[in-house]
């Protein structure tokens, strides 16, 4: 190779000696450049073959890092009641004044609701691990942290740790995965902002049938004192059956029934029944119409003046969301308390009407990309009593949510 290079160089040189035209000089320069380039490529190839791969990272474990996502949620809020009044609101029969938890969108003006770090990883061939660290501006919370089996036979799966129960439809979903920024009133009233979320174990089974049927049972600590309570031991058991059918290619229907049985004192039981139904019609590649509704009823045994009595309370929400394309969607939701058989005499004595507790919400959403979302919403809330007065609340909110890092898959 080198020999031939030298030869051609010589040939060029002799050419140069014979003819002194500009054209030849230019030609020579070109050839020289080409030879140099070839020589460089040869050297590089020689170096390449000597190099072994990955010499420096003998103990690097980067490839085993969990999938990590950062979720940020914030909002700008305009509301026709001031912050102190809002914090001291009551929902008659469910939440007493001053007893409400408001982790999201509490302030008029600006709110940084949370930064959330979500991690997921395979532990080994038998377990997957998940953790969601929920960081409020002034608090750190392990929202979920659990392991889940991957290799049990008969389509069984066990989950253990702290997790959101698969009770109902919306219970297991995180705030940023809801179609509306506010939690449905009935969930907020019965369970508070975290819904049924506790330490415990879960067993789920998928039936080997053409139609999707899933059944699950959970044993949980029952520390949610809105419906259950601190009874010095674990007290909550949850069970559910879910099923889904497709009608043609584009319409899918998912329904479920759920029961949560726990104790609110050492002797008094609380039962919550839930029925949910979701229908989704796919209108195009990026367009769909979704209708989701849930009805929850709580039967709570409480001590009466002579004997125990059962307080029966119930409510539902129903939401319709139209996805126009990948970028835009819009939706409406109706929330209502349908049953409130509890002692409301305190309100009656003050002349406060506690009928017709309901709420109307509308939203418009813009997603520039699947990982980011801007949502404008308006709600008219008629479920609140503030300072001994029934007070309807108007709220306009613009919220921003982003999910950076690992791609969370799209939910049904």
């Amino acid at each position: 190779m080198k020999k031939s290079l030298c030869l051609s160089l010589l040939a060029c040189a002799s050419l140069f000696a014979n003819a002194e035209t500009n054209a030849t000089q230019v030609e020579l320069q070109k050839q020289k450049a080409a030879i140099e380039k070839l020589q460089m490529q040869l050297d590089m190839l020689a170096q390449e073959s000597q190099k072994s791969r990955n010499t420096s990272a003998s103990f690097s474990q980067n490839a085993y890092l969990p999938d990590i996502a950062l979720i940020l949620n914030m909002s700008a809020v305009a509301r026709d009641v001031n912050n102190t009044a809002y914090e001291n609101m009551a929902i008659p029969g469910f939440i007493d004044a001053g007893d409400v938890e408001l982790p999201f969108n509490k302030n008029r003006g600006f709110n940084l609701n949370y930064a959330e770090v979500a991690m997921r990883s395979s532990v080994d061939p038998y377990f997957d691990a998940f953790a969601i660290f929920h960081l409020h501006p002034a608090a750190f919370e392990i929202e979920e942290a659990y392991v889940q089996t991957t290799s049990l036979p008969y389509a069984l799966r066990v989950k253990a740790g702290k997790f959101k129960s698969d009770f109902g439809r919306i219970n297991a979903k995180h705030q940023h995965a809801w179609y509306f920024d506010d939690q449905p009133i009935i969930y907020k009233a019965l369970f508070g902002p975290d819904s049924i979320s506790d330490a415990g174990v879960q067993l789920q089974w998928v039936a080997p049938t053409d139609t999707y049927i899933m059944a699950g049972v959970e044993a949980m600590q029952g520390s949610n004192d809105r419906s259950f309570g601190n009874v010095e031991r674990n007290n909550l058991y949850v069970g559910y059956v879910k099923s889904s059918v497709d009608v043609g290619d584009d319409l899918s229907i998912l329904g479920g029934v759920s029961l949560a049985h726990g104790k609110n004192t050492t002797t008094n039981a609380t039962d919550v029944y839930g029925v949910d139904l979701t229908m989704r019609e796919q209108l195009g590649a990026y367009s769909s119409l979704m209708w989701q509704s849930e009805y929850l009823q709580r039967n709570m045994v409480v001590d009466g003046s002579i004997k125990t009595q059962t307080n029966k309370q119930a409510g539902l929400y129903s939401e319709l969301v139209y996805q126009y394309n990948n970028n835009y969607s819009g939706g409406v939701r109706y929330d209502v308390i349908t049953k409130n058989d509890v002692d409301l005499s305190d309100y009656a004595n003050q002349g406060i009407n506690t009928d017709n507790l309901d709420k109307y919400t509308a939203m418009l959403e813009y997603k520039p990309f699947p990982m980011s979302r801007l949502r404008l919403s308006y709600s008219y809330d008629r479920t609140k009593v503030i300072a001994s007065e029934r007070k309807d609340i108007n709220t306009v909110m613009l919220s921003l949510n982003i999910a950076a890092g690992a791609h969370g898959a799209h939910d049904y």
């Binding site: 991957t150 036979p153 139609t211 899918s252 590649a285 990309f369 898959a409 799209h410």
Partner: protein, 292 residues
């Protein structure tokens, strides 16, 4: 009597002991059907009417995954947005990632357009490279071989049948490719633009130059600024063909066509996307529509 009963039970189970194969997309499913023949029952999870990145994770897919003995995925990140939670919730140990019944086809296909740096600032870029390899008819042979090996591993009793099917199909497909490649030599279309980089494998195979995309970045909707720049590029390069897929909006392509005099060719990205019933029909449609 007992013997007969036992025999009947055994025979019935044997008769029904078909391997349940789930494929995420229809082309993969069609190849699996060719190799598996009567010994497999193929179920396709994602409808080819829709964007393969955004298959709706319907709960009914869970019951399909629940009973699968083999799951064939496209891989390369194409299923990232819909399959992982379904797989976790189907509770099927046979097809979990890493199990014997899990086949990621992208591990067998030489991927192109592998980015040297990855950031979502560049849009929905797949770190492993362009995952849309099924548009290249030559890749079918790679798929067939990988599926044949996997089926023999899962269902060793029928190994001979799979080998025979693979040999027959390979022969058939090679003959088809010879003719296909010869026809593509005559293709007049040399430069195209496409909506999303769905057809790069096909274009690279047949030396057709992809000059630009209608979407400014992968997964980002067209903007007027980008569209105007694209029209300019098309005029400069004399591009006369716009490759439109079946699931994106067609308004932008039509607008660009009206400004450049180019033609909008609707190209299926997957078998059945616009009515094709067989693999050959699918690939013929791609060639016919691009070359016209």
């Amino acid at each position: 009597m007992k013997k007969i009963a036992l025999l009947t039970v055994l025979l019935t189970t044997l008769a029904f002991a078909r391997v349940n194969v789930d494929a995420t997309y229809s082309t993969l499913g069609a190849v699996a059907k060719k190799i598996g023949g009567d010994n497999v029952k193929v179920t396709v999870l994602g409808s080819s009417k829709y964007d393969p990145h955004f298959i709706v994770p319907k709960p009914s897919l869970l019951s399909k995954l629940r009973r699968a003995d083999l799951l064939i995925i496209n891989g390369g990140g194409l299923e990232l947005g819909w399959l992982p939670p379904l797989l976790r919730n189907a509770n099927n140990a046979k097809i979990r990632n890493g199990a014997k019944g899990f086949l990621d086809m992208s591990h067998f296909v030489p991927m192109i357009d592998v980015p040297t740096s990855v950031s979502r600032a560049f849009g929905d870029v797949h770190a492993q490279g362009n995952p849309h390899y099924t548009t290249d008819p030559h890749v079918v042979l790679i798929m067939a071989k990988a599926i044949g090996q996997k089926l023999a591993q899962i269902d060793p009793e029928n190994e001979a049948a799979y080998e025979k099917n693979l040999a027959n199909f390979t022969k058939e497909w090679q003959a088809y490719l010879t003719k296909y490649d010869a026809d593509m030599q005559m293709c007049q279309t040399k430069k195209v633009v496409q909506y999303h980089e769905l057809f790069n494998y096909f274009l690279k195979r047949y030396n057709i130059q992809a000059v630009g995309n209608i979407e400014p970045l992968p997964g980002i909707a067209p903007s007027s600024k980008h569209t105007i720049a694209l029209i300019q590029t098309m005029r400069e390069n004399g591009v006369k063909t716009i490759l439109q897929d079946v699931y994106h909006e067609r308004k932008t392509a039509k607008f660009i066509a009206s400004k450049t005099g180019a033609r909008v060719a609707v190209i299926p990205h997957d078998l059945g996307a616009d009515g094709s019933k067989t693999l050959q029909e699918f690939y013929n449609k791609i060639a016919n529509r691009i070359c016209k």
